[in-house]
């Protein structure tokens, strides 16, 4: 056969499959490609490595090596001949830990809080695990049973032998979780109703929904909380005046509902018209069509966005700080002012602890949202 340059050609022996050249592949290849591909790139790599070398050792020293892990009061965390450069004062966190988690909830009754956490975890796991059995039952549990159970457990039900614990005593992680949970449990149903109302053909229904949603989304959460805190007592007669936590919960619930409404609306918009038409052609009335056909699909499609809204809500729970509720952040503020524990490192330690808590929760939720997104993308192919 002639060279394949001109004219015709016929391959007689098949070309074997060779391994890639060594210097372009494997670890050296990866390094060349990603870090050293050009002079500019090399300079960037050097800068980054320098930054990491500069930043990491002091952080590890402060939070781990020089940190004080146990002690009774501030003297443990102050500079001393034995410990000239004290690091993070984890002793402070350990001593105050139960306050950070339960607030001033009476020690003998704390099992009720633990029971609440367990029940909540069950509900979340049930709904979050996409292949869980009887998820409809899970929804009923999470949105109806759990709120009632939690109220009885936490607030008290004298008739069932649970003494009443006023909300002023609740604090720390308990309050953060309560606010976040109420926000989630309330915002999803209300948000769905608002989204349906906004898409309605009835002008007044639509106008009320649009007005509410745009109003709430246009103002900062702090003003909504102020409104709930300060104005709500004015609008109800004296004797019914809701307690501080309840006011904040109402504010948070209304705020979250407006954002959830927009997320659900996005999901509803993503459902092709054909689904609505098929359901109508089958003779399904409006509410049954929504409940059985449209909403399950819309919620599944927009689940990553729903989780993202929850993450935002979880972070926003810190704002109840400003209306005097003792969430985790406020308990940390209160604790770091304690004269027994005042040292230069107390504040940073407290904030680091809070940051770790929020980061783990929010990052965990965002990983979950990513996982759901990937699953949905795969299924659609």
């Amino acid at each position: 056969m002639a060279t394949p340059g001109e004219g015709s050609y016929l391959r007689v022996t098949p070309a074997e499959r060779l391994p890639p050249p060594a210097e372009r592949n494997g670890a050296p290849g990866w390094l060349r490609e990603n870090l050293l591909s050009s002079p500019g790139n090399v300079a960037l790599t050097v800068l980054c490595l320098a930054f990491i070398a500069w930043a990491t050792p002091p952080l590890i020293r402060f939070f781990v090596v020089d940190a004080v892990w146990s002690g009774a009061d501030r003297t443990a965390c102050l500079a001393s001949p034995a410990n000239p450069h004290p690091g993070a004062c984890w002793a402070f966190v350990r001593v105050w830990f139960s306050y950070f988690v339960y607030g001033f909830y009476p020690i003998g009754e704390r099992w009720r809080v633990d029971a609440f956490f367990a029940a909540l975890a069950l509900g979340i796991a049930w709904l979050a695990w996409l292949s869980a059995p009887r998820r409809g039952l899970g929804a009923v549990y999470f949105f109806i049973l759990l709120p009632i159970l939690s109220y009885l457990l936490l607030s008290g039900a004298p008739r069932l032998g649970l003494i009443t614990i006023p909300t002023e005593l609740w604090g720390g992680v308990l309050v953060t979780i309560v606010v976040a949970t109420v926000g989630i449990v309330a915002s999803l149903p209300i948000g769905i109703l608002l989204a349906l109302a906004r898409r309605s053909d009835l002008p007044i229904v639509k106008a009320l929904a649009v007005g509410f949603i745009e109003f709430v989304r246009g103002v900062p959460l702090i003003t909504v909380l102020f409104m709930a805190s300060v104005m709500l007592p004015l609008f109800v007669p004296e004797r019914l005046s809701p307690d501080k936590l309840l006011r904040a919960l109402i504010g948070v619930a209304l705020f979250a509902s407006a954002y959830m409404a927009e997320v659900v609306r996005g999901g509803l918009n993503a459902i092709p018209r054909g689904q609505y038409e098929a359901a109508q052609a089958l003779g399904l009335p409006y509410w049954r069509m929504m409940a059985l056909v449209i909403l399950p699909q819309a919620l599944r499609v927009t689940l990553p966005n729903i989780v993202n809204t929850f993450i935002g809500l979880f972070k926003d729970t810190t704002l109840v700080f400003v209306v005097g509720i003792f969430d985790l952040l406020r308990t940390i503020e209160a604790a770091r002012a304690d004269p027994h524990w005042v040292t230069p490192v107390t504040s940073v330690t407290g904030y680091a602890f809070a940051a770790l808590f929020y980061f783990l929760c929010c990052f965990g939720m965002s990983r979950y949202a990513r996982g759901v997104e990937l699953r949905l993308a795969r299924r659609r192919r």
């Binding site: 790139n41 009835l202 009320l208 246009g218």
Partner: protein, 383 residues
Amino acid sequence: MAHRMRRSGAMALQIALLGLAAGLAYIAIRNAAQNLAAAHIVSGFGFWSNTAGFDISQTLIAYSPSASTFGRAFWVGLLNTLLVAGIGIVLATILGFAVGIARLSRNWLVAHLAGGYVELVRNVPLLLQLLFWYNSVLISLPQLRGSVTLPGGGILNNRGLFLPRPEFAAGFGYVVAAGIFGVAATAAIRLWARRRQDRTGEPVRLLWWAAALIVGVPAAVFLAAGAPLSFSVPQMGRFNIIGGVEILPEFAALLLALTIYTAAFIAEAVRAGVLAVPAGQIEAAQALGLRSGTTLRLVTVPQAMRVIVPPLTSQYLNLIKNSSLAVAIGYPDLVQVFTGTVLNLTGQAVEVVAITMAVYLAISLATSLLMNLYGLSVAVEER
């Protein structure tokens, strides 16, 4: 797609809803009136012209506790909000775009360091970050006695950063005029250069012209006018600092927190926008022989910006709303001054909260309107 309900049914439902809303509103207002009367709180907006009687730590306009009104305090607070939000938006945009582009870098270290920053900042509440910056900033600053003097004449202590205040003499107007002239001239030259490119094909090369006109000419005028700029350097007094411009630690902390937090979200929007430009577009541009700079300018950026602008505007709005966290550290923004102090002093919760919300609503609606206009102008091209 709402199911069509029977006409009369729909009408009845809406009337019932209206009735319910009206009924609730009536009951609420009646209760409010009763409660307010019982607490001897006046209603109405008369408080606006009452004397304020309290001091504000940062005032961009003239304000005095004894002579200024609550209305004046409102404007002071609003200006403080706009100041921190305005500077925050500029800084966050710069940082956000830089980090977003870094996340797209081929360099693994750069991309992942940027990614680490974004993940860390996005998953920690803004209020926590704000408290951290505020308490770290404040802790490390010395008292008045131990103030640190900075090169250039600034003074740093826990009351704030005091910088020399620029005093403009009469001739400075010419410098400003020269600057405006420089900008206008650059724009004119750009127009001329574009026309020339259309005619002859020769590309536009503006950088040196722009530098000379915008920087060089005003500088020359400045020197010619005898340098009409002096600085009033802050001086240490017995109990406070005299002269100079004061930057509050609260302002610095709020600005830092808002910038760092919002930049992370902007970075994600920028990254999504650039990734949204299909790879085929870049390949087509490359196949035509366009260099990477030209491709970026003519193909990537226009298409990426369409995707970036809506979430970017959303983040600007969030920054403006988040500035209300000033309440937590005592920076005198609108919420802190008005919904905080003024509300406490007058007790007129309804009016004060309503006004505050109206202001934020106005800002949000104005921004949404601008955004919709932008969306329309872009969509027309794709119809």
